[in-house]
Amino acid sequence: MTTTRIDARFAALKAEGRAGFIPYVMTGDPSREEALEILRGLPAAGADLIELGLAFSDPMAEGPPIQRAALRGLAAGMTLRGTLDLVADFRKGDDATPVILMGYLNPVESYGYEAFARDAAEAGVDGLIVVDCPPEEAGPLATALDAAEVSLIRLATPTSDDDRLKVIARGTSGFVYYVSVAGVTGVKEAQAASVAPAAERVRKAANLPVAVGFGVKTPERAAEIARVADAVVAGSVFVDEVAGALAANEPVVPRVLAKVKALADAVKTARTSASPISAFLGETV
């Protein structure tokens, strides 16, 4: 297998000695054109990888911000095929930034696993996170994605004990997404002190980089997590910017990108600026 964009990006981050930043935005939110503009602006705003949310009618692990974003995407007419086309358009101008799709199983199953894997790879998709598809149910999907060299990114959570981590780590690639709070997206706040040992446990079990998300809303919190994780994911805070811009009748794209830059800058400088968490943990990270 050739070096994937994901592996190349994490290797570069490691060489730079800093954590990566992964903004999550919703497909088609609030329109296809604006979503494409946002995607195209993300790398310059500081995105090291991109998570693109797949709109689903029944997102059972999402809090209100991403639920509403998904409804906006659907209302804009976005489909799974449409999302792949969006990624293909983004790829025309950027061949380096990994794009990970994140969503729920039914639209992918409806599309067909083999067809999806083939078309996703062709569009330039690097990975897929399926919130409601645990390892026990992932066999046929994983086989299809492997054949197309698209990574199936697994989730680990505060409820994952060591035995469970072994199940999660089996056959995974790219990175592991550590869900830092038991709960839905964008509600509880992640606590760096509890994330640090958990991230280390996951890293050891999977021998892969660990990205931490769910509950990262501010630059301060993003910086704290950046000191203990290989990458930081934030999402609700950006889709809330879309909602805010729509409500205020302001242009959406600059508002979202400004917010992305604020968190990305915090992540990038986290390990060079004062580090209360490292001091607290008594180690250098």
Partner: protein
Amino acid sequence: MNAIIPNSYAWPDAEGRFGPYGGRFVPETLMPLIHELQAAYEAAKADPSFQAELDDFLTHYVGRESPLYFAERLTDHFGGAKIWLKREDLNHTGAHKINNCMGQILLARRMGKTRIIAETGAGQHGVASATVCARFGLPCTVYMGAVDVERQQPNVFRMKLMGAEVAAVTAGAATLKDAMNEAMRDWVTNVEDTYYIIGTAAGPAPYPAMVRDFQSVIGREIKRQSLDRIGRLPDAVVACIGGGSNAIGAFHPFVDDAEVRLIGVEAAGHGLDTPEHAASLKGGRPGVLHGNRTYLLQDADGQILEGHSISAGLDYPGIGPEHAWLNDLGRGEYLSATDDEALDAFQMLSKLEGIIPALEPSHALARIGEIARDVGQGGDVVLVLSGRGDKDIFTVAKHLGVEL
């Protein structure tokens, strides 16, 4: 119909699957809990003291066994097989839902859980959940779509009377599937202390099999009562299907009795040729929602559609995975009835037998004449009267143009 070798039916498998259906499609946070629940349920099932405790509550609190009633005038009306009604409407709280809630609350107590959540559509499962929580002194939050809260005020009041908190869900279309999403979100947030009582034989394993087992008291009683009253097994067992818990409870003890036809009736709303129905088997296709793979109402992109039925207890866009499998095996026969047909049947049973049925079993009643004639004189068919119709009189009056 495909022949099934007696005693061959042992679904679900170790992965919680019924053929290709079922499974455990939940967020990773819940996976350890799902496994814990499975182990706890299997231990309880193997423990005679658990069954004894459940039986005692079913007898003295729920009021079981429920009668198997020979509906003489209904039988005469159609002139076919004898029609028997399994009177689940006579249970405490007026429906079959309490059978499952009693089983699950005893399991929750065994597991040391201190908080209960549930979802509800029409409010019958919410009321049954609130009831058992009051009985055992556990705090209860019932998620209910805001639209349903509005149209089911009497049940909302009942739940509150019994101390439950009713959380109105405004997400999505604000009906049953959205209430279920919200209950899942609560569960994933409160994994330590909370037990989720799912109301139908759907959701991630072990729920479909567990709810079926708790509802199988219906089928076991039908079997015993048929042997007592008829001297043999019935020719058909008929039940309505939303998620399908009363039907699977009635069917399951008969699956290996090939001579007994198992007939489910889905809600056809305004008709299967319109977008407004809730017939997942006959008008949907397989997919994944709410923790299991099953037949779903969905569009070409895999987005879930809202079900429609005059009965708020049937307007769910999915169906329990075991029904999906019985359908594919050909062991179950699945029919449908429209809103109008159910309304007619509702009035028919009220006038002919002095029994006001819930709108849910009214769908099964709408097909019972054809089934009775098809089986023919000398035969016997059992219809599960899954609930009483008091909750529905406002809806029915409105459709008949009567102001109450």
